[in-house]
C-alpha cells in the first residue's frame, strides 16, 4: 500500500483528487434529482414551491400515494404492463435474434437484398393513419397484440445483434461444429445463444424499458380501460387532477386540485420507475459489455 502511494507522483495524486471530486459532483448531479423526486413525493407541495424542501421531506404526507393507490386500476395497469412487457419482450427479442443470426452468416443468399428491405423501413414509415388503418383491418384494435406485435423486431436492434454475431461468433466455430456433425439449428441453440448472453440481456433491457415506458400505442389502439398499461393509468390519474382551462364553466376547487396534482406527480414517477430501477442493476454488467461489442467492432 505504502509503496503504491510512493509510486504516485504529486501530479498523479492531484489528478486523482480532482478526478474523484469531479466524479462525485457528477454523481450528485445525477442522483439528486432522483432523490428530490423521492422526498418531494412525501412533502407538502406548498413547501416544495416555496423552496423549503431540499434535503429532507417537509410537511410529511402520504396523500399522494394514498391517491395513487386508492385507485384499483393501478393494479390492473401493473398487471397489464407486466404482461405486455414480458410478452412483447419475448416476441421482440425472438424476432430480432432470429432475423439477426441468418443475416450475420455469410452463406445466406440474398442477404444484401433482405438487408436493403429492412433498412428502407428505418427511413420511411407509413405514418400514423395508415398504420392505424392497418391495425384496424388486421382486427388488432383494442387487443394487446396491437401493442406487442407491430413493433417487434426493430431494424436498429437487428443491426446491433447482427454485428455482435458477426464479430463474436467466428465462422471457424461453425466449420468446426459442422465437421463434428452439428446441425444449423443445434449450433444456434447450443453454441450461439449461450455465447450471446450479453447482447440478449441488452435486447431484453431495451425491450422491457420500451414496453414499460410506452404509452402512445396503447393510447391509440386501446379503448378498453381494463387493458390499459400502467403508464396510461398513471397518466390518467395525473391528468384527472390537472387543472383544466375550462375553468370558466367548471366551478371547482382549483387549489385543492393543484395540491393533489403536485403531490401525485412525484408519486407517480416513483411508482412507475421503481420496477426498472430494481431491474437495472442486475442487467447493468451485461449492458455495458453487450452494447460495446455490438457497436465498436464492426
Amino acid at each position: 500500500m505504502n509503496q503504491l502511494l510512493k509510486r504516485k507522483s504529486r501530479g498523479d495524486i492531484w489528478f486523482d483528487i480532482i478526478n474523484y471530486f469531479l466524479l462525485t459532483v457528477i454523481m450528485l448531479l445525477v442522483l439528486f434529482p432522483l432523490y428530490f423526486v423521492l422526498i418531494a413525493s412525501f412533502s407538502d407541495p406548498n413547501y416544495i414551491y416555496s423552496g423549503e424542501v431540499w434535503l429532507f421531506p417537509k410537511g410529511f404526507t402520504l396523500d399522494g400515494y394514498e391517491r395513487i393507490f386508492s385507485d384499483s386500476s393501478i393494479w390492473i395497469g401493473y398487471a397489464n404492463s407486466i404482461i405486455y412487457a414480458t410478452l412483447g419482450t419475448l416476441i421482440g427479442v425472438a424476432v430480432t435474434v432470429f432475423a439477426a443470426y441468418p443475416l450475420a452468416r455469410r452463406e445466406l443468399a440474398g442477404k444484401s437484398v433482405i438487408m436493403w428491405f429492412l433498412l428502407v423501413t428505418m427511413f420511411f414509415s407509413g405514418g400514423l393513419i395508415p398504420t392505424y388503418l392497418l391495425i384496424k383491418d388486421l382486427h388488432l384494435l383494442n387487443t394487446m397484440w396491437a401493442l406487442v406485435i407491430p413493433g417487434a423486431g426493430g431494424v436498429f436492434n437487428v443491426i446491433i445483434v447482427r454485428t455482435f454475431f458477426q464479430s463474436s461468433i467466428p465462422d471457424e466455430m461453425w466449420e468446426a461444429a459442422s465437421i463434428d456433425g452439428c446441425s444449423n439449428t443445434r449450433f444456434f441453440w447450443s453454441i450461439v445463444l449461450p455465447l450471446s448472453k450479453s447482447i440478449l440481456a441488452v435486447m431484453v433491457l431495451y425491450h422491457v424499458v420500451g414496453f414499460w415506458n410506452g404509452f402512445f400505442d396503447a393510447l391509440i389502439y386501446l379503448n378498453d380501460e381494463s387493458k390499459y398499461p400502467l403508464q396510461l393509468v398513471l397518466r390518467n390519474i395525473l391528468v384527472q387532477n390537472q387543472v383544466n382551462s375550462g375553468m370558466m364553466i367548471d366551478v371547482e376547487s382549483y387549489a385543492a386540485k393543484m395540491r393533489v396534482t403536485e403531490l401525485i406527480k412525484y408519486g407517480v414517477i416513483m411508482v412507475s420507475s421503481l420496477p426498472l430501477l430494481v431491474l437495472y442493476p442486475f442487467l447493468q454488467k451485461y449492458f455495458v459489455k453487450g452494447v460495446m461489442i455490438g457497436s465498436i467492432k464492426g
Binding site: Y132, L219, V239, E252
Partner: protein, 541 residues
C-alpha cells in the same frame, strides 16, 4: 421447408378469418336488422324511441377517472327509457383531440361524437366535405326540446349556426354568468385595520395601502417580507386587467372590448398607456408589485398565500379561500373597482362565454339519424340537461317540493368537482341550462352561489354592458385570425410587462403602435368587427 411455409400460411389465414369472422358478424347482423325494421320500429314521439332496441356507436371523451359511460347511472336510465343502446367508445379527455383527429382522418367514423368538442374549424370543414351532416332539418322534425330552446333563445341559435347557414353541432351551455368578471380583487383587511387604514375606494388610496404594507411591517415579524401585491401576468382570473378600468377603459385578456357595437383594441388606447405609466411609477418603482408576478405559475402563486408568516397583502383570484386557505380568509376582503384619478370606476366584461357549439355531431355513417336526434333531444329537456351536466337525481340532486333540483350532501371526503366528474359526462356534454333555469329548475352548487353573490355585490354595478360574443367565423377569417393574433397578443403582453417593469411607455409608444400596425392589427380588428356585425344581424332575423 416449402411445406412448412405453406402450413404456416394456412394457419395464419385461418386465424385471420376466424378473427374477422367473429367481429364482422356482430356488426353486420345488427345493422341489417336495424335497417329492415327501421320504419316500423321508430316512434315519432314519446318514449321509448324505438320498440326494439337499436344500437348506436358513439365516441366520447370522459374525465380520466370517471367510469366508462355504460356504468354511469344517468346513461343506464336513458337507455331504459329510450330503448336506444349506445355502444360507447370512451377516451380519456386529455387524449381525446388526438384520437378524434385519427378517427376522422382515417374515416373510422362512429355514428356520432358525443361531448364532441368540435372546433369551429372542424365543424365547417367536416361539414363541407360531408363527414358530419347538417342538423337543422332533423332538429325541426325530431327535437322538440331543442327546437323550443332555440325559438326561445335566438342568441343561442345565432351562435351555433355556421356562416353557411347550417347547424353542424349542437350546443352545450351552462349559463351562469360567473365568468363575466374573473378578476376578484382581494386585500388584507386585518393589515389595514392594524395600520389604521380604511378599505381603499380609490386607486391612490390603494397605492397608499400597498406602500404601508411594504414599509410598516403589518405582520409584525420584524422582517420586510410582505408582498404588497401579487398577481399572474395575463392569466385567467389572476391578472390586473380589471384595474385598468380605473382609467376609463377596462381591459381583458384579449385586449378586446365592445362599446356600442364597435370593437376596440384596448392596448393601443391612451387610457391603457396612462395605466401602464401609473403602474410603473407608483407601484413597480416603489417595489409594491411582486416581481415574480410576471413569471410565476399557479402553484407558486398559491403557495404565497400559505407561508408560515402571513405575507400576502393584496392579490387577484376569484376565490379568497383558495389562495390563503380557509383560516386566513377572514383577514381578507374583496374590493370593488377602484376609482381612478379622473373618477372612472368600471370593470370589464369577459369576452365569449356563450354556448359551446360542437357538443354533438352526427356523421355520415349514421344510418339512423332520426333516432339519434330524438335520443340526443332528451338531453335538451332542462331537467335532463342539468343531470347530464352535474349528475343524476338521487345521486347528486333531489327534487324539493317545488320540483327544483337541489344538491344532496356530498359523500364523505369527496370534492364537488371530482364527484361531478364521476357521475356525469360534465361541462362539455350536450344540454343547455339557461340562466332562467338556474334557481327555478336547478340550484348552483354552494361555492358557485357564493361567487354569484359576490359578483352581484362588488362588480355588477360597475360592469361594462357589452362583450365580444363567441362568434362562429368563416374558415378564411379563422385562418387570418390564427395567423395574426397569437404573435400580436404575445408582443402586446411582453410589452405590457416591459412597460410596467422598466417604464418608458411614453417614449416607446410610437414604435409600439407602429409594430402592431405592421403585425396586422387593423386587419384583425376588421375581421372581429365584421364577425360582430354579422352576429348582430343574425340575431335580428
Amino acid at each position: 421447408m416449402k411445406s412448412l411455409f405453406k402450413g404456416a400460411g394456412i394457419v395464419m389465414l385461418a386465424g385471420a378469418f376466424a378473427v374477422s369472422g367473429c367481429s364482422g358478424n356482430g356488426n353486420g347482423a345488427n345493422n341489417q336488422s336495424g335497417n329492415q325494421n327501421q320504419e316500423a320500429n321508430f316512434n315519432q314521439t314519446g318514449l321509448p324511441i324505438v320498440k326494439e332496441a337499436v344500437t348506436l356507436r358513439m365516441v366520447s371523451p370522459k374525465a380520466a377517472l370517471a367510469p366508462e359511460f355504460p356504468e354511469m347511472e344517468i346513461f343506464k336510465r336513458l337507455e331504459k327509457d329510450t330503448n336506444v343502446k349506445i355502444n360507447w367508445e370512451n377516451i380519456p379527455d386529455t387524449d381525446y383531440t388526438e384520437k378524434k383527429n385519427l378517427l376522422l382522418a382515417s374515416g373510422d367514423l362512429p355514428d356520432a361524437f358525443y361531448a364532441a368538442g368540435f372546433t369551429d374549424y372542424e365543424l365547417i370543414n367536416y361539414g363541407k366535405d360531408g363527414t358530419i351532416i347538417p342538423l337543422e332539418d332533423l332538429i325541426d322534425q325530431y327535437a322538440p326540446n331543442l327546437k323550443a330552446l332555440l325559438d326561445r333563445r335566438p342568441d343561442i341559435k345565432s351562435s351555433i349556426t355556421a356562416p353557411d347557414g347550417h347547424i353542424y353541432g349542437l350546443p352545450s351551455y351552462e349559463e351562469n354568468n360567473l365568468g363575466t368578471n374573473p378578476f376578484f380583487h382581494v386585500i388584507n383587511k386585518a393589515w389595514l385595520d392594524k395600520l389604521g387604514l380604511k378599505v381603499p375606494q380609490t386607486l391612490d388610496e390603494y397605492t397608499e395601502a400597498l406602500l404601508a404594507f411594504k414599509t410598516q411591517d403589518p405582520n409584525g415579524n420584524g422582517k420586510q417580507d410582505e408582498i404588497p401585491l401579487s398577481f399572474m401576468h395575463m392569466q385567467w382570473c389572476m391578472d390586473i386587467a380589471g384595474l385598468f378600468g380605473a382609467f376609463g377603459l377596462p381591459d381583458n385578456l384579449e385586449h378586446r372590448v365592445v362599446r356600442d357595437g364597435k370593437v376596440i383594441f384596448t392596448a393601443t388606447q391612451p387610457e391603457y398607456k396612462e395605466a401602464l405609466n401609473y403602474f410603473h411609477e407608483k407601484w413597480y418603482k416603489q417595489g409594491l408589485i411582486d416581481p415574480e408576478s410576471f413569471t410565476q405559475d399557479a402553484a407558486q402563486y398559491l403557495a404565497k398565500g400559505k407561508t408560515t408568516d402571513e405575507t400576502l397583502g393584496s392579490y387577484i383570484w376569484w376565490e379568497v379561500e383558495e389562495v390563503v386557505g380557509t383560516e386566513r380568509s377572514k383577514d381578507y376582503v374583496l374590493l370593488s373597482p377602484l376609482k381612478g384619478p379622473k373618477g372612472d370606476q368600471i370593470i370589464g366584461r369577459a369576452n365569449g362565454g356563450g354556448p359551446g357549439r360542437g357538443a354533438f355531431v352526427i356523421t355520415k355513417e349514421n344510418s339512423n339519424p332520426e333516432i339519434t336526434m330524438r335520443w340526443i333531444d332528451q338531453q335538451y329537456e332542462p331537467y335532463m340537461a342539468a343531470q347530464i351536466h352535474w349528475g343524476p337525481l338521487d345521486v347528486v340532486f333531489k327534487k324539493d317540493e317545488n320540483g327544483k333540483l337541489v344538491n344532496l350532501p356530498l359523500p364523505e371526503g369527496a370534492s364537488a368537482g371530482e364527484f361531478r366528474q364521476k357521475v356525469a359526462p360534465g361541462a362539455g356534454g350536450p344540454g343547455v341550462i339557461t340562466i332562467q333555469d338556474l334557481g327555478k329548475i336547478v340550484d348552483l352548487e354552494p361555492r358557485a352561489q357564493q361567487r354569484a353573490k359576490d359578483l352581484e355585490q362588488y362588480y355588477d354595478p360597475y360592469m361594462e354592458k357589452e362583450n365580444y360574443p363567441n362568434i362562429f367565423f368563416e374558415p378564411e377569417e379563422l385562418d387570418k385570425i390564427n395567423k395574426i393574433e397569437p404573435e400580436l397578443i404575445k408582443y402586446v403582453n411582453t410589452q405590457r410587462g416591459r412597460f410596467i417593469v422598466d417604464g418608458g411607455a411614453d417614449k416607446g409608444w410610437d414604435s409600439y403602435l407602429k409594430t402592431l400596425d405592421k403585425m396586422g392589427l387593423n386587419e384583425l380588428m376588421e375581421i372581429y368587427q365584421t364577425g360582430l356585425d354579422r352576429y348582430n344581424a343574425n340575431l335580428k332575423k
